[in-house]
Amino acid sequence: MRLLIVEDEARIAELVQGALARAGFAVDSVALCADARAALTVTSYDAAIVDLGLPDGDGLSLLAELRANGNLTPVLVLTARDAVEDRVRGLDTGADDYLVKPFAIEELIARTKALLRRPGGALGVTLKAGNISFDTIERDVSIGDASLVLPRRESAILEHLMRRLGCVVPKPVFEEKLYGLNDEHGSNTIPVHVHHLRRKLLDAGATAEIHTVRGVGYILTESST
């Protein structure tokens, strides 16, 4: 998997590049908008990490240009805290996620992986969380080496949780994805499905666990080793 870093602060670029390389990515690093534009036209990247404040332009306009040209490469934006409030609406239109500086490298890697786990993303075919692996095409779930058979809705819930590993998936997202508008089963069945799914994962010895965030949704976390 190939990533592009657009960052003018040389030390940060170097460190991020090193960390992502250790995480198994091939990484190119550029410091200018112009170079980024050139790189993105030549190479097909799986994701790009873009700093907003660049010497020869604004990362946001680069992003807008990219999207206007039909390039759908997932983009993670890096920004300073005081820019978030002014620009978050702009981010919503073009960026897939954003991270506030200073950030922990682990967070950057986790967020990048989350982008890649999206449907169509580089990691979006076979999802992994702890020892759980989910083949989104065959819809096969396995815990370690053992395969686990799940009903349709439980499997859908697990897929969403795994695509957003480590992040809360709001309950309305499940309602929207699992049921049609006229489906009469309603939202009350989701906690029941989650309950069953949690029990099955536990019984199968999964090293990732579903937590309930009451009032908001559910989150899948890898058990700390």
């Binding site: 602060e9 030390r11 805290r81 500086k101 200073p102 992040c167 965030v213 908001v216």
Partner: protein, 472 residues
């Protein structure tokens, strides 16, 4: 110290005026009493002369040619009163006593030279049985028996006239004086107080000036002209202080801003170093520094830039977002987190990101203080409040007033906070004209409640039915 220095100008003025007034009154009274004695003496002399003339009038020469004093009964009774207060002696010549009362005064007077037309005054000591002192005069009076030398005296201790005069003075006038003194002092004190009232008001305004309110200036109108130069000097000093504060805030903001990049580099560099115990500690330290720099920047921005609080913000949305964002961090610390949203959306006027910041700070604190496997609860309610409750050790009453101060940290365990979080929360709430309160959580722990001043109608988003109308 023997003398207590009075610091109050009011008290000093009042005390000095009072002393001056009491002294003036005392002098006036003394002069009055002296005058009364003077007058009484003059009157006394006049009375003695009149009595001498009176006595001479009652001297007659009878048919035998003997000179005799024939006093009317009333006068006889008075002169012969047992205590001999009034005494007299009438002589034709030096030793020719016509009449005397008591008779032994005649014997005394007989040794004196005859009087002249001008009264000659005398003082008689140790006279009579009781040894009283007498004061009197000898004068020549013409009478039916020719010129007579009449001596009249009165016991000095029976100075009835002076005493009655003084008594009258004290009774009729004297009691007014202390009243007048008190009344004048009261009027004076009230006058001084009212003259200083504008000064007291200015003092109250000055008391409101603090780092958060440097734009206040004291009014220079309506002040005593002696105070005005002081007040305008203070105002100019405040101008300079405000400039200083601005510089300070800009400096803080710039410093924090500049610190972020090197910190980001250190943070990133540490992440790729293979961990041993020491590195883990340094990572924690750097994380703390990151947080501090971040918060410093936020405080500086809140100080420097007026927050735009004009958006309609759904507290449920913000709370849900913050709970979702904080859940992984909280779960990693083995503490669960939950949201109790109001059934209807709670929409307030404010700044979405600032409210989120405030809430995040409260949740961070709550999770940090909550015991393992307990739950931190965020709740919104229809009256425009959002609260964060934990099951931590709580906050002692005497610490509660300190926890909103910048860089204040509890006395408890060594935390990772810089002590800026709650200061940021309170700044944000001030900008929203809202408030923050701390209450005990029933069953243990603490509840922080953010209360927003401007509640917008709750019927904006979800189901319009059943929602309460705008309150407050």
């Amino acid at each position: 110290m023997k003398t207590v220095r009075l610091r109050s100008l009011q008290a000093r003025l009042a005390l000095r005026l009072a002393a001056l007034y009491v002294a003036a009154t005392a002098i006036a009274v003394a002069v009055l009493i002296y005058q009364a004695y003077e007058t009484a003496d003059t009157l006394n002399d006049r009375e003695l002369s009149l009595r001498a003339a009176d006595l001479a009038r009652y001297v007659a020469v009878d048919s035998t040619g003997a000179v005799r004093l024939e006093l009317p009964a009333e006068l006889t009774a008075r002169y012969q009163a047992a205590d001999n207060t009034d005494i007299f002696a009438v002589r034709r010549a030096a030793d020719a006593v016509v009449a005397a009362s008591p008779p032994n005064f005649g014997e005394v007077a007989a040794k004196w030279p005859v009087g002249t037309d001008d009264p000659s005054y005398f003082r008689l000591k140790d006279f009579g049985g009781e040894g009283r002192e007498y004061y009197g005069l000898t004068v020549v009076q013409s009478s039916a028996a020719g010129p007579l030398s009449v001596s009249v005296a009165r016991a000095a201790d029976a100075d009835v006239l002076v005493h009655s005069l003084l008594r009258e003075f004290v009774l009729d006038l004297g009691w007014i004086i202390p009243l007048l003194v008190i009344a004048t002092l009261v009027v004076g004190a009230v006058a001084i107080r009212s003259a200083f009232k504008p000064v007291a008001e200015v003092s109250q305004m000055a008391a409101a000036i603090g780092p958060g309110a440097t734009s206040i200036r004291l009014p220079e109108t309506n002040l005593p002209s002696e105070i005005t130069p002081l007040v305008s000097a203070v105002n100019r000093a405040l101008d300079r202080l405000e400039q200083g504060f601005h510089l300070q805030r800009r400096f803080t903001a710039n410093a924090a801003h500049e610190l972020r990049t090197p910190l980001a580099i250190v943070t990133a560099a540490l992440d790729v170093v293979e961990g041993n115990g020491e590195i883990t500690k340094i990572k924690t330290d750097v994380a703390r520094m990151n947080r501090l720099v971040d918060q410093l920047l936020r405080v500086a921005r809140l100080d420097a830039v007026a927050l735009d609080v004009s958006d309609a913000v759904d507290l449920d949305d913000v709370a849900s977002e913050i709970v979702a964002a904080m859940a992984p961090w909280s779960l990693a610390r083995k503490k669960s987190i939950a949201l109790h949203a109001n059934t209807e959306p709670v929409v307030v006027k404010g700044n979405r990101y600032a409210i989120g910041d405030a809430l995040r700070n409260l949740v961070e604190n709550a999770v940090a203080h909550a015991p393992p496997s307990s739950e931190v609860t965020v709740s919104t309610s229809a009256n425009g409040t959002v609260s964060v409750a934990d099951r931590g050790p709580g906050i002692a009453a005497e610490q509660r007033k300190h926890i909103f101060e910048r860089f204040w940290r509890g006395t408890g365990k060594e935390g990772s906070g810089a002590g800026l979080g709650l200061a940021i929360v309170i700044e944000i709430m001030k900008a929203h004209q809202g408030s923050i309160s701390i209450d005990d959580n029933p069953g243990g722990g603490i509840i922080f409640t953010l209360r927003f001043g401007h509640l917008i109608s709750q019927q904006k988003k979800k189901s319009p039915a059943g929602a309460a109308g705008p309150s407050e």
